[in-house]
């Protein structure tokens, strides 16, 4: 009679019955139910006395195991149809319950191991062609079998395995299969090699079974990430590296840079697709991508960029935006790629810029000089926008390059001012065919102002701009007052109120003078006998706003003198206490001149003074005569005579002939003068670029003007800080003055010495490096 057992685990069994078992077996239904005592009198459980354990039957475990073993073998052989799930489950259950868990587990383990070895032998016998698919099939079958085995031995899993912390049956089975089959030395290598071969074939353009690759790698993953990584992924990355290294080397020497990049781009896309479809590696994060990109792009970056006739410089020169964009995109994927492009682009721009500012051809025409620079900027702005994704670092680099080469030519401030002057006068550029609409000119001015931003010597620009503006305003040469004002506003926004205060003062003077002129005319009209033979228009300039001119008192013709005196009386009557000084070098005159016919000629005042001398002259006048009578300074006199006698309109005749005016020359009225135009202008005092001597003089004056500014900055800083280290002081002062110019540290040092001597500062005892402020 079989011993009667207590089923303490009844509730759990019933819950087991509730699980869905997707088996080919008949559903096992558990009939044993809890029978509680239905005795109404006793509401509680009845606990039976613990009965003594019956002796163990030594034969039992073996018999049970044999049963299970046979069943499992059947399962392996796909012959499970006749098996009773209930019986097998119960067998396992009993064994565990009777404390034969160890025995059962180790036997199962041995069995699964043997099975794996057997499968391995089968696999080894397979040909290469069939290997992968055979492995795949074997794997799937084995998994299925294991699932069934697991179900039978579920009780052991849940109790014995858990309590003793062993591997559950399924996992154990997998790991044994992995260890004794897939990772068996001969099998492992064959699988790997076959996989790699397939992938390589696909890379070479053949069609392969991606599905097979996928399932094989999936199998490896199922066996453990480590298995996948070591057995497949690592070798895969190595082989990819090798493959693409060869490909890159082959291509790089035979193709042009854009061709190579195009090919690389398509290869990378292919590879990404391949990896995603076939493998369980993630393209973006797996090591494969970095390796492949490294081989294809990283290793050959330098070669590509510097390739003769197709490298970066060539692409930039040819404006090959699409190729540049591709290069940028690909290079961005490897470390240092983007910076490489940036470096070389900056180098190229710097070279272009240097050539431009140092070219003598450009230096001869300020407008061209500036336009060429603007052209470079526009071109590269465009390239950065369309090929380099408007990358900020590229733009910054471009600006830095400009800052360097724009300041290489010390005359840049002057040229930029002259270029703007040209626009504001409405000059049409020789090369440009663009219309002269105000918006267009405004655009040109803004672009010129961009160049201004790169200047280090902004104070020098201010000086020239003031000079040129003065000439424009005094000669009535401004095309549009609106435009002039707009430029002032732009400068104010750039540099602050101080920069433009004087310039705005100049405009105010012009406007005031206009009103003044109206009043003066009214005044003259109501005079009894003014005796005015000439019409005078005066511009009153406030000293301080306008560029300083040396005061020259030349000899005015009596009619002009009379008119001037009249105006002076009129003005000073209104503005008592002011002082007026005539600036004869800056005036203009309109003259009626009779040669063969009556002409109306517009000319600078000096010209007028000279010509009027010939009204009363009966014989030719010598240079010295003219000089004595007019008292015009020699340099200006020579220039004026040159223009009158050797210029476009030869109003005078000079003996001896020749362009140069000598002190012994003789001048006379040119009776033979004739011109088809009745009304014309003689060399107005336009802004021209300075002669070398004038440039030197300007430079010297500039340096003199800067010294007090440096002094003021030093005192300001020392007053605030009281005590300061020498190098820090130099740095701080430089920073403060940067908006206007970049002072030379040696000059600053000399100014500091001067300030020490003037008792503004002193040294700190014997410490030569530190200064103290003296209140």
């Amino acid at each position: 009679k079989p011993p009667f057992h207590h089923f303490n685990a009844l509730p759990r069994l019933s819950s087991l019955a509730g699980r869905s078992c997707d088996l080919r077996f008949r559903q096992w239904r558990h009939h044993r139910l809890v029978t509680m005592s239905q005795n109404p009198k006793k509401a509680s459980f009845v606990i039976h006395k613990f009965k003594q354990q019956p002796p163990k039957d030594a034969e039992m475990p073996h018999k049970h195991w044999q049963k299970l073993k046979d069943a499992i073998m059947q399962i392996f052989n796909e012959n499970a149809g006749e098996l009773s799930f209930e019986e097998l489950y119960r067998t396992g259950y009993n064994m565990v319950l009777h404390k034969f868990g160890d025995f059962l587990y180790s036997n199962v383990e041995t069995l699964l191991k043997e099975r794996s070895i057997l499968l391995c032998e089968k696999v080894e016998k397979t040909t290469d062609e069939m290997l992968l698919s055979f492995v795949k099939q074997t794997w799937l079958d084995h998994k299925r079998s294991l699932t069934m085995v697991r179900d039978i031995l579920m009780y052991m899993d849940r109790t014995y395995v858990k309590q003793n912390q062993r591997k559950p049956v399924y996992e154990m089975g997998l790991s044994l299969f992995c260890q004794y089959c897939t990772r068996a030395p001969r099998v492992k290598d064959r699988i790997r090699n076959l996989l790699l071969q397939l992938l390589q074939s696909e890379r070479d353009g053949e069609k392969v079974d991606r599905h097979l690759i996928r399932s094989t790698t999936q199998m490896l993953v199922d066996m453990g990430k480590l298995v996948y990584t070591e057995d497949f992924e690592k070798p895969f990355v190595e082989s990819s590296q090798h493959y693409y290294m060869l490909e890159a080397e082959r291509l790089v020497s035979s193709s042009s840079a854009p061709e190579y990049l195009r090919r690389v781009e398509s290869r990378l896309n292919e590879e990404a697709d391949r990896v995603t479809a076939c493998l369980s590696t993630d393209w973006s994060t797996g090591g494969v991508r970095t390796t492949v990109e490294g081989e294809l792009i990283g290793k050959h970056m330098h070669t590509l960029v510097t390739k003769e006739g197709s490298g970066l410089v060539w692409l930039l020169q040819q404006d090959r935006l699409e190729d540049l964009a591709r290069m940028f995109d690909l290079f961005s994927r490897v470390p240092g790629g983007q910076q490489l492009i940036e470096e070389h682009m900056a180098e190229h721009v710097s070279q272009l810029g240097r050539d431009s500012v140092q070219s003598p051809e450009n230096s001869s025409d300020p407008l061209q000089y500036v336009n060429k620079l603007i052209a470079i900027k526009d071109r590269f702005d465009h390239i950065i926008q369309h090929a380099f994704k408007e990358e900020k670092t590229f733009t910054n680099r471009l600006h830095k390059s400009f800052e360097i080469f724009v300041n290489l030519n010390a005359r840049s401030p002057e040229y930029i001012s002259l270029a703007m002057d040209s626009h504001l006068r409405g000059h049409r550029s020789k090369s440009s065919t663009a219309s002269l609409s105000e918006e267009h000119v405004e655009g040109q001015l803004e672009k010129a102002l961009q160049m201004f931003r790169f200047l280090q010597e902004k104070d020098l620009f201010e000086k020239y701009y003031k000079q040129h503006l003065a000439k424009r305003l005094l000669g009535d040469r401004s095309q549009s007052e609106d435009l002039e004002r707009k430029v002032i506003q732009m400068l104010k926004a750039e540099c602050g109120y101080q920069f433009t205060a004087k310039l705005e003062g100049m405009f105010k003077d012009i406007n005031t003078s206009r009103d003044l002129h109206g009043n003066f005319r009214a005044h003259v009209e109501q005079l009894e006998d003014p005796g005015l033979e000439v019409e005078l228009q005066v511009k009153v300039l406030t000293t301080g706003y306008w560029p300083t001119q040396p005061v020259v008192q030349c000899h005015l013709p009596p009619e002009v003198e009379h008119a001037c005196a009249l105006f002076k009386r009129f003005y000073l009557a209104q503005h008592n206490g002011r002082q007026l000084t005539w600036q004869t070098s800056m005036g203009n005159a309109e003259m009626k001149a009779r040669y063969d016919k009556q002409y109306m000629i517009s000319m600078p005042s000096y010209h007028m003074i000279i010509l009027l001398l010939f009204n009363d002259a009966t014989s030719p006048l010598s240079y010295k005569d003219v000089e004595a009578a007019s008292r015009i300074p020699p340099a200006d006199l020579k220039r004026a005579l040159q223009s009158l006698a050797c210029g476009h309109f030869k109003l005078l005749v000079k003996e001896p002939r020749g362009k140069e005016v000598g002190e012994n020359d003789v001048l006379s009225f040119n009776a033979k003068f004739s011109h088809k135009m009745i009304k014309f202008k003689v060399s107005s005092v336009a802004a021209v670029k300075e002669t070398n001597e004038e440039v030197q003089a300007s430079r010297n004056k500039m340096n003199e003007d800067r010294n007090p500014q440096i002094d003021a900055a030093v005192v300001r800083v020392m007053k605030a800080r009281r005590v300061m280290d020498h190098n820090l002081l130099i740095a701080e002062v430089t920073k403060q003055l940067q908006a206007r110019f970049t002072p030379n540290p040696l000059v600053i040092k000399k100014r500091i010495e001067g300030l020490i001597d003037r008792d503004f500062l002193q040294r700190q005892g014997a410490n030569m490096k530190v200064y103290e402020y003296l209140a």
Partner: protein, 225 residues
């Protein structure tokens, strides 16, 4: 009292006076001193018409001390007395100075000044020397000038320093070779002292971007060529 103005003063003094050294004792005799030997000395050397010792008095003092008028001890004496004007010692300067010096006769004065000279020569890094050095500059200036003329500088430097003082010889030859240098500011003078102490013979520790007055930058550049 070895600067040029003083030499002029000497010659002027000789023109004015008929009797040189002889005049001084006579003047002193007319005002007999009390028990104060220091003031007695003052009376001996002072100008007849003024209440201060003038150039001849100094000359007389020098001969009594048996030193040359060009001796550095005269300058040291001026320093001790904190004399304000070259060639003259006022009554107060004399009184205070000699009291501090604890000397009441030319012989004692000589001894004290000798000792001082030795001390100054021994240690040019002492604060005493620094004070003396700076005094020398201010004292040697022409009245109303802030800077010291270069000829005076060239004459004064070898007096305050021994010939072997660091960089001295090179500096003098540099000044000779630089006609554009017209004089020294006080800052330049003072800085040279520090320079001579800090900078190595071969200028290896000289920082051209340091805060040295630019004349010293030029000096180093000149020497390195």
């Amino acid at each position: 009292f070895v600067t040029m103005p003083l030499k002029d003063l000497f010659s002027r003094g000789k023109k004015d006076k008929a009797a040189p050294a002889g005049g001084a004792p006579a003047a002193a005799a007319s005002k007999p001193s009390a028990a104060d030997p220091i003031m007695a000395l003052f009376e001996r050397y002072k100008e007849p018409e003024e209440d201060r010792i003038g150039p001849e008095g100094v000359l007389s003092l020098c001969s009594d001390m048996k030193i040359e008028a060009t001796d550095v001890k005269v300058l040291i004496l001026a320093w001790q007395l904190n004399a304000q004007t070259q060639g003259y010692f006022t009554r107060n300067e004399w009184k205070q100075g000699l009291t501090d010096l604890r000397a009441d006769s030319p012989a004692v004065m000589l001894g004290r000044l000798d000792a001082q000279e030795r001390q100054l020569r021994e240690n040019t890094r002492s604060s005493a020397f620094k004070d003396f050095y700076r005094f020398a500059f201010r004292f040697s200036r022409s009245p109303g000038q802030k800077a010291l003329e270069i000829e005076t500088v060239k004459a004064l430097l070898p007096i305050v320093f021994v010939a072997s003082h660091a960089h001295l010889a090179k500096l003098l030859s540099f000044l000779d070779a630089s006609p554009s240098v017209r004089g020294f500011t006080e800052d330049q003078w003072n800085s040279f002292l520090v320079f001579s102490h800090e900078i190595a013979e071969d200028f290896s520790n000289f920082d051209p971007e340091g805060a040295w007055p630019s004349i010293l930058d030029d000096f180093v550049t000149h020497c390195q060529q």
